[in-house]
Structure formats: C-alpha cells, structure tokens
Symmetry: none
Subunit: 401 residues, 2 copies
C-alpha cells in the first residue's frame, strides 16, 4: 500500500520548519577488512553530538539489496514510492535545465557521439565537446520539423542535450539507442506497445534529419538516445504535505527532481558554507528545506576515500550554524550509499538521524553506519522518513477516531 495518500489526508499546514540535510552517497564501506567507513573515519563532533540528542537508525532507499540511481533515491527521500513514481533520465535531464515539461511529453537524453564511415560508434561522448559547441548543435537540431509532432532540442552540458517530443498519445516504452560500447552502431528502437511504435516513427524521422545536420560536425557527427520517458505530473510537496518547500541544490539533476515535486529552487554558491547561508537568508519564507551536498557522492564515485572523509568533515563544521538557525525538525542522511571501495552507488542502508523536541534519543553517540544500526528507529525504508519528519513537526493529524 502507498501511504502517501494517507499522509496527504492527515497533513496540516503549520509554521514549524523542517530541514532535510542530504549528503549524496553518504553511506560507505571500510576499504580493508576490520576497518572503518568514510563516515566512521571522519571527525564529526557536531553530528555525533546531534545524533546523541536524536533518534537514529538505518534507511533502505528502495528495499534491501537494491542500488538506486539518484532519481529513485530522492523520490524516496521526498516520500514518493520510488517504483510507482520512477522516471527516466530523459525527464530528469529536461527538468534539470528547467524545461517546462507538460504531462504526456516524451523526454529524451541526447549524447552527441562520434561514428566512423560504417556508422559504428567510436566515441560515445564525442570527445566531450565544449558546452558552447553543444549549444550550437542543439540550436541546429531544434530547427528539425517532424510532421505530426512538436520537437524541441535544448543543450545541457558538454556532450549532453535533451529532446522533448510533444503530441497526442505518445508512448515511451522504448530502449536506449546507446550501444554502451564502441565499435557498434547505435541500437535500433524497439517499441514495446502501439503508442510507442508511433513515437518510434517520429523519433526515427528526427534521427534521419539529425544525422544529415551533424555529418559536418565531426567529432559530434551523430547522437545517441537514452532514458526515453513520458513526463507525468507529480503531486507537489504542497499538495501532499502542505509544506512550502525550498531546495538548496546546485546540480541540475537535483534541481530537476526538486522542481518536479513543486519545490522552489533557491540559488546558492558552491561551498557547504554557501548552502547554509542560503538557508539563513530564505529561512522565513519556507516551512521545508532540502539541502543537497553533492561532493560526498562524487568523491565516492571517484574511489577517493580521503576526499569523501574531508567533505563529510567540512559539512560537520556547519552543523552549529544549522542548530543556531534552529529548525523544529532536522534530518541528516543520504539518498544512497557510494562507498569509495566500489566507486559506485551501492545497496547498503544509510545512517540517519531525526532531531526534534519530540524525538526519542536512543543512546547512539556517533553518527555512523555501525552506531545507527543500533539506533532506536531501526531499519526503515527511506520512503517512511517524510512521515516521521512531518510527525515530529506536529504537522500530521491523528488517523481515525
């Protein structure tokens, strides 16, 4: 059962404020047998003290064993069932560049690539062309007209762009054309249903014209399509939780995710300090803040244990500032684990803490995977976090008489 409908019925608007501090890819692993994780290694006196005054536990982003992408990981954090509401990369990419998607639009992520004379892909990223070149190519492709459908192409960054197809009854049960390896041609579209078959016709018409246009732009002489998906309207944070929500996130994907659930994007600088400055200056205007720290994840993905430790330690130094601002409810956790050992997202559950006047401290004295495993909140699916935060903010009415 999806408890989101129930939460929506129970939610009430109050002035209390919730801050959700997300360190992307926070969870980790020891590099050696018997060693410590990144978070356990980091000196985090402020988070440790906060944990001591909080309820702690472990979160499964999706369910045990499942490694989430950033999309499903954040949907869970926002309280949206990540399987029911899962969306393709194309939609995320379009939202990330603030494209005004409408329900029913089919969004596609484009990677410019290089193909040889035989049409085989020789570089899946076209040598990472400059963002300026990307803008030039996207503008050229944006002029393409396909009868029966409206097509739009927008640049994203380097070799990445986004395409949006708008029309009646479009389907998106379509594979990626990216062969994932070099030496092979782009994969043909294989539609999974009637609507998608029609859409595949439009996309193939688009691709033919695109090929002609790009032929003179080596190394970006072809494109690959990924994450083709239909945009569906998501119920907003205000509709579900009656929360006025602001997102303090710097990367396009997280801005896109936040915008998708109706959050305002609050522009901030690039350091952790900037995030908390942004919180302070917008504090009066919202009742919910999502703060997103990216570099825990990127250092984990680079396999850089030490850098991930340092990012965590830097965030820790700003916790006193957060406490000074004084939200009624604070949650600290991540969207998924990114152990440096794996240089990748992983399935391991995340430590989390929930702090409010009404939480039950549980003897956890360190904010870490191992200490939180013994926390009083136990192991929960991440999708349960929002209801717990709403409750701690006294924003949920009683269920039933």
């Amino acid at each position: 059962m999806d408890y989101q409908d129930l939460i929506q019925k129970l939610a009430r608007e109050t002035d209390s404020k919730i801050v959700m501090l997300i360190m992307d890819g926070l969870g980790g692993l020891a590099m050696d047998k018997g060693g410590l994780t990144e978070l356990e290694t980091a000196k985090t006196p402020n988070l440790d003290k906060l944990a001591e005054e909080s309820s702690c536990g472990l979160l499964d982003p999706i369910s045990p064993g499942i490694t989430p992408g950033s999309g499903p990981g954040h949907l869970s954090l926002f309280g949206y069932d990540p399987v029911r509401w899962n969306m393709g990369r194309g939609v995320l990419e379009a939202l990330g560049i603030n494209f005004p998607l409408q329900a029913g639009d089919v969004a596609i992520r484009i990677n410019f690539c290089t193909v040889d004379d035989k049409g085989n892909v020789t570089d899946r990223r076209a040598g990472r062309i400059s963002s300026e070149k990307c803008e030039e190519l996207a503008a050229a492709l944006d002029k393409i007209e396909v009868p029966g459908v409206d097509t739009t192409v927008r640049p994203v960054k380097e070799h990445r762009a986004a395409a949006v197809f708008r029309g009646e009854g479009l389907g998106s049960d379509l594979n990626d054309t990216d062969p994932q390896v070099t030496g092979k041609p782009p994969v043909a579209l294989e539609p999974g249903d009637k609507e998608s078959e029609r859409t595949a016709g439009f996309i193939n018409g688009f691709l033919e014209q695109a090929k002609d246009i790009l032929s003179s732009h080596h190394p970006a002489n072809m494109l690959l399509l990924r994450g083709i998906d239909t945009f569906k309207r998501y119920p907003s944070f205000y509709e579900i939780y009656k929360l006025k929500a602001g997102a303090i996130a710097q990367y396009p994907m997280y801005k896109g995710l936040s915008r998708m659930v109706g959050m305002d994007i609050l522009e901030a600088g690039s350091s952790p300090a900037d995030l908390f400055d942004c919180l302070a200056s917008n504090y009066d205007n919202y009742t919910f803040f999502f703060i997103h720290v990216k570099k825990t994840d990127s250092s984990g993905e680079d396999g850089d244990f030490e850098r991930k430790v340092k990012v965590i330690e830097e965030v820790d130094t700003h916790i006193p500032r957060l406490l000074e601002i004084g939200p009624d409810v604070i949650a600290v956790t991540g969207d998924h684990s990114t152990p440096a050992l794996l240089s990748n997202h992983s399935w391991h559950p995340l430590p989390y803490l929930v702090n409010s006047k009404y939480c039950r401290p549980d003897g956890v004295k360190q904010f870490s995977e191992s200490a939180c495993a013994a926390g009083g909140m136990g192991r929960l699916p991440t999708v349960s976090l929002m209801p717990v935060l709403m409750a701690n903010a006294l924003k949920l009415n009683k269920f039933g008489a």
Copy 2:
C-alpha cells in the same frame, strides 16, 4: 508490491558465486527460563568467527507471528513471495518424486490409512506400511480409470503416495479428507468453486474404485487425501536471477522445491560432510548453491534439544571447508524455527549472516538468535535475502537514473 519483478529487471549474469547454507528449523528457544537456545548452546567457533566478519540480523520467514511450513519457508528463501506463490503439499510431494507435472495438473498427497467396519479411521498412517507395500498399492491404484480425466498414482515412501489428475479446466479449491483424528470417517470433499466441483466428481469416482482395490490390503485398506492443489509454473532461478543454480538437498520435498524453481538437483550422501563434498565437486558448474541440512529440523520436531545442538555443532566443523572453497557470497540461516521446546515449527525469526567482500561487519561476535538480534542488518522478511545476496555478488544493476 512484489519486488521480484524489479529484481528480474535488474539481474545480470556474472561469474561470482553464492552459497546459501540452510539449516532447516535452525531457530530455537531455551528449554527453561533464562536458559540458552539450541544454537546458543552449541559450540560453533567457526560460525561465530564468520559472523564476526559478516552482516547479521534476524529474518521473518513470512511475517511476524506466522509459522511457515517448509514450502513457504523455502519459497521465501528463494525470493518468491510465499503468499503469492504458495503451493499445496500435493504439488510438493509430486515434485519431490520427480513427477513431470504440467501447468494445470491437480496434485494430491495420499496417506494410506486403516479404517474399521464402520468406515472410521483407526490409524491415519496404516501402521506405517513398508515402502515396498506402498509401491505395490500405488501400482494397483495407478490402474484406476476415471472417465474425463487422466489419473496417475506414484509411491513416495512408507504410507505416503502421490496422485496427479490431468485434464481440461480442473479446480483445486478442495479440503483435505484427512479427519486429523482417529475414530472418525474420512471427510467429504467440499468444493469451493465450479471447476473444483467437477474435479471433486472425478476424485470421488477415483476414491470409490480405490476403496474396492484396498479392501483386501488391511491395514492399508483406505486412503486419505491432503494438500490438493493445482501446479502452476514458477519462473526459474535463471529467469529471475540469471543464476545457474544447484541444489544440494537430500529429502524429496526440498528437491521438489528446488526443481520447481529450476535448480539442478546435485546428488549427495547423507552426512554434512557429503554436502560440502558435493559442493566442491560441482563448484565450477554453477553460480548459486542451495545447501539443505535437514536434521536440525527433525531433531527439533522430536523435541530433542541435545541432538539439535549436536547437528549444529557438526555443521559448524565444516565451515572452514566452505570458506576454503571460497564463494563470493555466503549466507547462513534457516527456513523457519523449530524449537525443541515446541516439538514443532514456530514463528520465531531466524538468525542470519551474509558474508562477502562488500558486507558491513557489525560487531556481532556470535552466530545466535540473541547476538544477531543486535546485528546491523536488522530484522528483514526472508524474501529480502536473495536481493541482498545478489547485491553482494554484484549481480544487480542500478535501479533508475
């Protein structure tokens, strides 16, 4: 939601190997207040050391409070929702003797029994007739012909046999005819729907002829029907997990369960040592091994605390052999608890450990109910175990972008 479909989408075939070591009925209880369980009493230095290097927790075979039979217990271990995929004893019994069931077949477990002149049951197991006698009687019943349906009878062991009814549109919403007590006649069939009404007609026709045939074979002069159920095809381990799976199990029911999910049955001798010999000699040919130890359960069912302790201790001595073989992922747990105190299956959660290069050791230093209750994996439904093992074997792609 059923996560099995999601796992199927994410699973990828790799060379890494998983071993699931199941001690049937592993979980237990202390015989006296303040005492130790069977597993806590057993000296298990090797399992304890393995636990120290593993992630540990407790598993609920179905959900808290539910005592499972062996069928649902194993379905959960194999990652099949045990309520959705539950099957009757008749199907299990037929699979156990390697009967080539087809989708739609109705399978029935037969118990030969003794009835008196009035038709009341005086011995529900016909004095446990010999397996030779069972073969003779099954051969006689196999000759029965019922118009409109194909009937087959095969011996199992002692007083147990299996019948299979094959035909168009058969139903199996039918009760057991076993009265469960002596002094009463067999219970009449009460069909729950139209198809089952028609099937009940066939079965009653069969029973009438069987009664005549058996009348001269006292004490096996009647039969009782149990676990009437329709066989449905189960998606195989390979279809779901892309695993080449081998089952090292000695008892018909567990072989049947393993075969049902597409595992190869690897024949082994009857001692724990034989199980690991079998693992070693088949190690190169599979990527998943299910090893089933039966005697923990049977000693528990006999209320023999000491014997159960000894079986556990014997299994423990082979753990170094398992580690030497060196699978990438090892899980040790049971399908359900069978406390000697209850002489029966029970609802108590099972201790489990998951060991791999990528598990998070959690400070658990003993493989026991109480120590694992404080483990870092927390309390999970057993059906979540397979996804966790797949993840630890790096056999699951990321979900979502």
